[in-house]
Symmetry: C2
């Protein structure tokens, strides 16, 4: 195969950047199951969602048919401040591994939020502004989404109220200051600021919080405050839609150099990065135009795809949100406090859950210490200090590249490097000091939460 | 003037990256004064420097005549992992200011060290490896240089021993973990590990340290350890040479779009970034081919150019290093503990000192709180959270852009955005909480240190 010389980093030109987001659902023969209204157990309508979400975003959320949504010019202008992100050929990692595999990673960490989250944050802030809202509320786990949203809100002059999972708030003291620099207010969750927070604290005093709790608090705050709506950084269809910019750029960069991916790998918490990265490739697979292996990588301590069940469940602990059909561990599930960083959501994006259930995507789970080993190995080879979340994908990519050493195959592996670990040094310190464990929930533990799943039809 | 549409970010292609560093000294009619041997007060020879520095670096240090030094391929390959850095057109900042000025910044923060320091770190590590050394020692202030060097040493499998100014060590606890991730050892300075450290601690118990102290410790450690040499992240001629990659890329990017800079601005501590950024432009000015205004921006709390004297002085507190003729506050000078971040060196690069003394460059000093105000303003406009050091240049650039509002001039302002502030959140927190002051040394205080300057000829 004659191949153009691939640079270390492929940067698209501004004019090559995507002008529309791609909606995988349009090409899915079997659509993901609809959201259900918790009061009626009927599919959520636009009207049902209107008190919680922005109007335009509800349309995107519910639209299973439109393949492309134009990216408004204001958002494209903002994207130009930090995008296109580079698609990096990992020459140094390949050499260090001694693998015949060709490894690429799409690096989304070169912006102050430190991750891909900004891609959807700016879109959601834009639609909130367009609707004339005063502000938005949200939750954040590792803090990347909260930072991204505070940046986006600052740009559009919107108020931003963030509920941050308490253990992350404590592990990442400086995240709060970054959000403050962008004018956001940050509250550790669960808090005494909301009814649902008070209830959770009463039932579980001393809890270190969970995304599920923080979501409940943020939703309550939004629906009880005039001129506010709730926005979410993952899981939802609209988020995967916005994040398709990652995959579209990746595909354009590969196409530019005539490279065809064999395996595409992403870490998966709620699914925003993975869903965005694989979107156009999955589109080809769904339309029968090309084939790829897709691998979702999740923490062994929060294994929704590999050990959860595919069922309707609440999206939040307080059960104030719609129900979604997804791979879930149960909305009460909270990963061990020893688990560092993000990827701690109890469920998985409905779209990805459906694709996984249909056999179109694989999933693996990896242990925390091996994730940090991969992170350090990668940092020393490629120079970038990765976020713990992103390092799940690194671990799986290295495993696939090692298989190629054995088989001699020159597979092309693409993975998503979602962000940087600058605010994760407490976790790195634990790793360096040997204070990190690999606690994995037992089957009995998982059963407790599974048994509490709502019984739907 | 017809002008090509300027993208938000100008990325050179890999093949457009500089293949040689540029040495300003070759075009200076009057050369900077030579380093003096502290024992003899005679100019330092290659032999004098050999126990301290790597051989190849000594040649670069002493060479006032060679205009271009080829960048070895190994270093160019490493550069490709994080360079070219973008030259950003600050459209959003211009709009927010309402200025007719056209503002560009060269952003060096998109790498894990978080600053431009990696450009010289990798070069110095390369030459140390080439010489067959076991490792290197160094000092670090804000921690950017130490991080950069630990990354570079990890890449070339060299041992890396860092003395970190104590107040930064305490203000930036996570910097140590990043360096550890890359395998470096980090000691807060002054320490009890060296004779000079013990002496300084005995004379000034409770000192929060200074770059001058940390340099002395690192040099002592290097000359008393077999197979080690000392490396430095700023001030030296060799460092400015390596950092010329910043200016060369900036000039290539501007030339590509037919843009001529009017004013070029950089923050100045030891001078590594400023000297690198202005190099090719200053070359044109020295050769009479073009004219530019160059502005060095320094902290009012450590004002070596604006309030120091041009004289021979020791480069370190322990007086173990050669003497350099430079603008200096005296080698005992330590900025107020309230001063956050870097730019805390008592002197200024000999090259920049000479250019300043010859009237080829201007200098201004700015107060800490106005620097953080500029930083926050910039972060909200351009999305990037800047390092406190870099924010000195932002402050000066904004001031110049505001002048253009008054005069209506469409000046082209280029400044160096040397790095990101992710590890400076303690300082940002102080700023947000109103706990930051603007202490400026009095004339009487400065006189104490000035009176202790060595009397040479």
């Amino acid at each position: 195969m004659s191949e153009k010389k691939i640079p270390y980093k492929i940067y698209l030109e501004e004019k090559e950047m995507p002008k529309a987001w791609y909606n995988m659902r349009a090409d899915m023969k079997d659509k993901p199951a609809p959201l259900l209204n918790p009061a009626t157990m009927e599919p959520m309508s636009e009207e049902d969602l209107a008190p919680v979400f922005c109007e335009e975003l509800i349309k995107q959320e519910l639209d299973n048919d439109t393949a492309y949504f134009d990216i408004p010019e204001e958002i494209r202008d903002f994207y130009k401040m930090y995008r296109p992100s580079p698609l990096v050929r990992a020459y140094c990692l390949e050499k260090k591994l001694g693998t015949p595999a060709k490894i690429y990673y799409k690096f989304e960490g070169n912006n102050t939020s430190g991750s891909h989250k900004l891609n959807s944050a700016i879109a959601q802030a834009y639609y909130a502004k367009k609707q004339g809202l005063k502000g938005v509320t949200t939750e954040t786990g590792a803090g990347q989404w909260g930072t991204a949203l505070s940046m986006a809100c600052s740009y559009f002059d919107l108020d931003c109220k963030v509920y941050m999972v308490k253990c992350s708030y404590e592990q990442k003291p400086f995240r709060r200051e970054v959000m403050r620099t962008y004018g956001a207010s940050v509250t550790p969750s669960p808090s005494m600021e909301t009814e649902v927070g008070k209830k959770i604290l009463a039932e579980h005093p001393g809890t270190t919080g969970s995304l599920g709790c923080a979501i409940s608090e943020a939703v309550e705050k939004a629906v009880t405050s005039k001129g506010y709506r709730y926005v979410l950084g993952s899981v939802l269809n609209q988020v995967l839609l916005h994040q398709s910019v990652i995959g579209l750029e990746t595909k354009a960069a590969l196409d530019k150099y005539g490279v065809k991916a064999d395996i595409i790998i992403g870490c998966a918490g709620g699914g925003s990065n993975l869903g965005g990265l694989i979107a156009p490739f999955m589109g080809e697979k769904l339309r029968g135009e090309a084939d790829y292996r897709f691998i979702a990588v999740e923490p062994a301590s929060c294994p929704s795809l590999t050990r959860g069940v595919y069922a309707y469940d609440f999206c939040d602990t307080g059960m104030v949100c719609p129900l979604a059909k997804m791979y879930t561990l149960g909305s009460d599930f909270i990963p061990s406090a020893n688990h560092a960083g993000g990827l701690r959501y109890h469920g998985m994006s409905s779209i990805l859950s459906k694709l996984y259930d249909d056999g179109l995507m694989e999933a693996v789970s990896v242990k925390q210490t091996e994730v940090f080993e991969a992170a350090q190995y990668f940092a020393r080879a490629e120079g970038i200090l990765p976020a713990p979340e992103s390092s799940h994908a690194i671990k799986a990519a290295i495993d696939e590249a090692k298989k190629c050493i054995e088989t001699g195959e020159e597979k092309t592996i693409v993975f998503g490097l979602t962000g940087t670990g600058y605010f994760d040094m407490v976790a790195y310190e634990k790793f360096h000091d040997g204070d990190m464990n690999d606690y994995i929930p037992t089957d009995d533990e998982l059963k407790i939460y599974r048994d509490k799943l709502p019984k739907i039809k």
